[in-house]
């Protein structure tokens, strides 16, 4: 985090200032200037071309599609806001919304807490730290299709390991793949399994940028481990926590593979659609029912949810202590002053 604090601007311009060219030439003779910079434009062009064709165009097209009724054959029929009107009154959609948010909360809260604890334990002079980090990170680089199949058998109502263990203990089996809450717990467990290590590694890096002196001072003052954790570690990690909450929100709202694979070959979303998520519903409407217009409308509602949530996250986590992490990019400001210095 120390890297984030704005450095004294005085010394920076010289570092960033590049010797090759300057903006002032461009300002005086624009046409000549632009041609002079062709290698740089060629170098950055692939990203922008690809983004225009495969990023921006589909998004604009998706707005248009959401105002139409189209099954992919023939030409789309313009229906105005009818898709959105239908969406607002569609109980299957709102069920998917409720499922998505429930699973998001049931997975994110324990996941980020466990990740913080793991990072806290790993921090410090622990033997075998490198091995621990690799072991915790492996779930994150693993195919979720394969692992959803594995979790599907571990949590199977009939032959699953979890119910077998419950049976051995004399308890009643749970409908992990058939009941409203069982399905949500199973999906949440998969998300927690996959992302706890990832978040722990990020928290660990955050911890390592906190000054040692703070811990020493706290220990001198007689603080115990829990007090250090809750009064020093968590507050100082706030920007990093904000990052993980935002990524978890994006991931949680986009949840698809886990529920899709879990009920692969059955009705989409499982019994009573208790595992139906927003993106899964979008997929089902667009690519099983070939209702492209409605699928696009669902996508746009999801986008609105994401934006609202991003804003709420940001407010909640940054406001409390006076926003210590303004996301001002320091380089642009520095570069702007650079050419003058170099040219003079």
């Amino acid at each position: 985090m120390s890297t984030k604090q704005a450095p004294p601007t005085t010394s920076i311009p010289a570092v960033v200032g590049t010797p090759t060219s300057s903006i002032s030439t461009a300002a005086t003779g624009k046409r000549f200037g632009l041609r002079r910079f062709w290698p740089q434009y060629v170098a950055i062009a692939p990203f922008y071309v690809l983004f225009l064709v495969f990023g921006l165009f589909p998004i604009v097209f998706s707005i248009v599609l959401s105002f139409t009724d189209w099954d992919g054959v023939g030409s789309p029929a313009f229906v105005g806001l009818a898709q959105y009107q239908y969406l607002l009154g569609d109980p299957r959609f709102w069920n998917a919304v409720a499922n998505t948010f429930l699973i998001w909360i049931m997975s994110t809260v324990p996941m980020l807490f466990l990740a913080l604890v793991l990072a806290f334990l790993l921090h410090g002079n622990i033997r075998g730290k490198g091995l621990y980090r690799v072991a915790y990170f492996i779930p994150n680089v693993t195919s979720m299709v394969a692992m959803a199949i594995v979790f599907g058998s571990v949590f199977s109502d009939g032959f699953g390991l979890v119910n077998a263990a419950l049976r051995a203990l004399g308890a009643d089996p749970v409908g992990w793949l058939s009941s409203y809450w069982g399905i949500k717990v199973t999906i949440s467990v998969m998300v927690i399994w996959r992302w706890t290590g990832y978040n722990a590694i990020i928290y660990l890096a955050g911890l390592q940028s906190i000054s040692t002196e703070l811990y020493d001072a706290a220990k001198v003052d007689g603080a115990n481990t829990w007090q250090i954790f809750s009064r020093i570690t968590v507050p100082l990690l706030r920007p990093v926590i904000l990052f993980t909450v935002i990524t978890s929100t994006i991931g949680g709202l986009g949840l698809f593979t886990e529920p899709q694979i879990l009920f692969n070959g059955q009705a989409v979303g499982g019994p009573d659609e208790a595992g139906m998520t927003i993106v899964l519903y979008q997929y089902e409407q667009a690519f099983n029912q070939f209702d492209f217009g409605y699928g696009s409308a669902i996508a746009w509602m999801l986008f609105i949810f994401s934006v609202v949530f991003a804003i709420i996250n940001w407010r909640l986590l940054s406001e409390r202590d006076g926003l210590k992490t303004p996301r001002r990019l320091r380089t642009p400001r520095a570069v702007r002053t650079a050419p003058k210095g170099v040219d003079a």
Binding site: I44, L50, P58, F61, A146, A299, L302
Partner: protein
């Protein structure tokens, strides 16, 4: 005009990239003091490791068991002797070799193109001035915010118009350059390529592209390796988009083929698990080879982003 004002500062800038995650440890830091504290810490951490590794173990157990063993009670907790039969069953149902080859082409092709295009753009952004540079960079960062699921339907329609449905290029081309990689490599390039070196290359008559190839690429090796492995892993595991685009059973990637296998052959779970082993374990090898780089960079990227 050369480097007189920069000399002192470049040294400071050099030390920065990627270093955030690995700092020397301080003995007094952290919760573990005394052997009891250490013991408790290790016990907790090992429980975590067991939970994180167990699904892989269970995958191997099931992939070596007969279906009777998998569906029976009590479940057998140790490897069975049916591995070969399960693998044979996978190959009789799905063309796994073809799927493996397709996946390697997609993941490898995407990784190579991403390293090429992202390093070119990152080098230009980090080390050169050109008109509209800042606006273009801001636009690029803004594309981070665009969620992928927003455009599944229109992208599918676009691919249909291009005639790319069922083709591997539908997976490779759209992901051939990305904002994440450009941003990451730019961080590396800003810190690790001294302006003096670029200057002297220019004095020697090297143009932009030769400077990129002979100076930037070698100096960005670490960042490029990470970006390549990261892209490879992401493309290997990608599922939603390939599921939508790859409608031809012969042109599927491992993930799509595996999902198909599990929906059609739900009763032959041993074979499904053997297929899952093929899709999971090569990638874990790739990850472990690059793990040091990988973990440090994921963390550093998060802190900077």
């Amino acid at each position: 005009m050369t480097a007189t004002p920069t000399t002192t500062n470049t040294a400071a800038a050099l030390g920065r990239p990627g270093a955030a995650a690995d700092q020397p440890d301080d003995h007094r830091r952290g919760p573990a003091h005394g052997w009891v504290g250490r013991l408790v810490t290790h016990v907790c951490l090992i429980v975590g490791v067991v939970l994180s590794i167990f699904p892989f173990y269970w995958l191997l157990v099931m992939s070596t068991s007969t279906n009777a063993e998998i569906f029976g009670y009590p479940p057998s907790l140790w490897f069975g002797g049916n591995a070969l039969a399960n693998v044979a069953s996978v190959f009789s149902n799905v063309d796994m070799l073809r799927a493996l080859l397709n996946t390697v082409i997609v993941a490898g092709g995407t990784a190579v193109l991403v390293m090429l295009f992202d390093s070119l753009a990152a080098f230009a952004f980090a080390k050169y001035e050109f008109p509209f540079k800042r606006s273009l960079f801001t636009v690029m960062l803004a594309t981070f915010l665009v969620p992928g699921s927003l455009s599944l339907v229109p992208s599918f329609v676009l691919m249909a118009h291009l005639g790319w449905i069922g083709g591997l290029q539908a997976l490779i081309v759209p992901g051939a350059a990305n904002a994440f990689g450009i941003f990451l490599l730019r961080q590396f390039a800003t810190g690790s390529i001294p302006n003096e070196v670029i200057d002297s290359a220019r004095v020697d008559g090297a143009g932009f592209f030769r400077t990129w190839w002979s100076i930037a690429v070698p100096m960005l090796r670490g960042g490029l390796a990470f970006l390549g492995i990261f892209t490879f892993i992401t493309a290997w595991n990608d599922y939603v988009w390939p599921l939508i685009v790859l409608i031809d059973p012969k042109g599927q990637t491992l993930q799509v083929a595996l999902a198909g296998l599990s929906s059609v052959n739900a009763t032959d779970l041993g074979a499904v698990m053997a297929g899952a082993v093929i899709s999971v374990f090569p990638l874990i090898g790739v990850f472990i080879i690059g793990s040091r780089h990988f973990i440090a960079n994921i963390a550093a990227g998060a802190l900077k982003g």
